[in-house]
Assembly symmetry: C2
Homo-oligomer: 398 residues x 2
């Protein structure tokens, strides 16, 4: 027997990020962990905040009867209520727990949303560069990802998004703070996007959903991440605790829905149904209870801020241009001009070149943006500082 | 905006089991928990074994650095190795951890398998009655579920399975111990199934996978559940700890693959890729580590055995026929003859009738078998015994 053709094809061109992850493991084995500058994966190395540990131990010691059993597919009622309160504060809306569905991380949440809203052949509009897994998250459910380019400063190009809309548009997907660029869309930009979608809806009779993937909402540097849900009635926020509590391996997140969304019952029941049939069934029970009682907690963002600054210094010294991140923990950098000529714009070649200096990054092509590359700075500041010479030498020999 | 047509249609006819779950909550509120005989949901009420609690507390107290981060999508290497050893013992095969993929429960595992192996239009053959979610698990990935009837004693009808095979058959799906019938397929039956598939493969050039959904493997009553993986080279076992460790809400399970399976690397890489893009990303980290160190543990099956016996006594007294369960924790029962005539075979009407006596079960139609109904006995023995009069009166007034 053979596997599905589509899966076989995908394996051949599978995620560069994960490939780097595996190569990183190999290189560390070969050269020692301290000598490899692995900026490839967004796997937070900061531990969850101390209050996480307290609640974790407390729940383990209590180990209440029935606490590992099924609950309603949408998640525990008390957890959904607690998170709804948090969402009200952050998103400037007034919702209760019935607008929340607990998910297996943001990746599980996005699959759940697209399963719920997409008819075969529907389109999801996304702005390039974008997290490459979006492509599979939409095609999984028979939808097509339609890509438009960001502006030069990586802000949303509202007119480009507008030009991509048609009657098949089920949703526009945004991601702010953005992976890979670190961009945060302002309230003004969101308002323009909202007007665009409202106009389009009035004209065509189909108001696209606006879906925000925002696991980095709590990681921003001296800049407010504006409320998203309140900007447009047909809005759906998807988030996780992978970054804000450093729990990516535990797979816990949630979906929150605008209170004025049309067909609320259908949509919520659809999301709950999709959670069930996609095989998530429900978000992991223990982690639901933990995040439900940690609505005020987050990791210490100043650690990422210091790393960001240290990394920008390293890049400045090496002569690599980048987009200054406003949030998240990635530096999106321009491939420098090659002294040898011939592949200035070749991010894959530059990433291969960097590997010789034991620096691991991800080609921008992996995000739909050739000529650029991404470094994740969710690694120890010492590693960032220690990479200075490697970066300089690598650029000098490029 | 509206949700997807397919989801909207599915909501209209959504899972009867879950509907009963919600109704059970309402009835308990109304009449008090002790007065409702809720046998609708397979949500184990037995607590995980004491050793689970020990490991849980130990891991919480240690809360090792990085232990909530990403690992390889297939799961922790040491956990996969530990589970491979367990599989070797139970399944009479010789595999290492590379043949194991950790999953978000068996539901996540089955979705992962079907995503990996199904081309659009492919068929999955299943024997009726069957767990109704299989329908969505296959249609999610563009495949079609082809149903054949079991023999009268709920054993596999090998020739019926044979008649359903064709060149589009990607897999035959079995479930033993079976939900809802409690049937366990013998080694002899599995051998016949294997011969059938081998013959079909030789004739057509396409050897269907044989997929076993076996979360109930460890719950059997004085009968050995024969090894499955060793019966056929193209075999894939999918299991979870939802029943054997009573952890359904924690979503932890795994896929194990026959060591002689064709195209092993493609298949395993495909399963790992599907785990990632379906949004599971990886099975929950903490629960992976817990089950990896609990390979000898299971809940006390004798508790279910006693409940089974108590329930059979209740049904005998009430005059309800059933299939004696060999494993799992369900009693599949025949709708009794109606004294009023007219709906002998109407399981939905009988389930409605039982509700008047505060007894909750699931219509057999929900499993593709009208005229029958399912009671789950993962509830306290006291509730089972206390239901005696309600059952008798219900049948007398039917």
């Amino acid at each position: 027997m053979a596997i599905a053709h589509a899966v076989k094809d995908a394996l051949a061109s599978s995620s560069m990020i994960r490939k780097m992850f595996e190569e990183g493991i190999q290189l560390r084995k070969q050269h020692g962990a301290d000598n490899v500058f692995d900026f490839s994966l967004g796997n937070p190395d900061i531990d969850p905040p101390p209050v996480f540990h307290e609640v974790f131990v407390k729940l383990a010691q209590e180990d209440e009867k029935g606490s590992h059993g099924y609950m309603q597919n949408a998640g525990y009622t008390h957890v959904r209520e607690a998170l709804a309160k948090k969402v009200c504060r952050e998103q400037n809306v007034n919702i209760d727990g019935s607008y929340i569905v607990m998910t297996v991380g943001a990746a599980g949440g996005l699959n759940t949303v697209f399963k719920t809203i997409c008819n075969p052949g529907d389109e999801i509009v996304v702005t390039r560069p974008y997290f490459m897994e979006y492509r599979a998250y939409t095609s999984n459910h028979g939808a097509k990802l339609v890509e438009v380019d960001a502006l030069e400063d990586f802000n949303l190009d509202i007119s480009a998004v507008g030009a991509a809309l048609n009657e098949k548009t089920a949703a526009v997907l945004i991601n702010s703070p953005n992976n890979p660029t670190g961009k945060i869309y302002s309230a003004g930009v969101l308002a323009k996007l909202s007007s665009l979608l409202t106009e389009h809806g009035k004209k065509t009779g189909r108001f696209p959903y606006l879906v925000s993937d925002e696991p980095y909402r709590e990681i921003a540097y001296n800049i407010d991440v504006p409320p998203f849900l309140s900007c447009y009635s047909e809005s759906i926020a998807v988030t996780s605790y992978s970054k804000s509590l450093s729990l990516p391996g535990e797979r816990i997140g949630f979906i929150a829905v605008n209170p004025a969304i049309s067909g609320k019952d259908d949509l919520l029941n659809g999301l709950i149904y999709a959670t069930r049939i996609l095989g998530f069934v429900n978000a992991p029970a223990l982690m639901q209870r933990i995040v439900g009682s940690l609505t005020e907690a987050r990791i210490d963002v100043s650690i990422y801020a210091r790393r960001r600054d240290a990394f920008m210094k390293v890049l400045n010294e090496a002569g690599i241009e980048y987009s200054t991140p406003e949030g998240a923990f990635y530096l999106f950098c321009k491939v420098p001009e090659s002294k040898k000529g011939g592949h200035e714009n070749d991010d894959k070649a530059f990433v291969e070149h960097l590997k010789k200096y034991l620096i691991l990054g991800v080609p921008g092509s992996g995000f739909g943006k050739a000529g650029w590359l991404r470094f994740a700075y969710c690694v120890d500041e010492k590693i960032i500082n220690a990479s200075q010479n490697a970066f300089k030498t690598a650029v000098e020999n490029w």
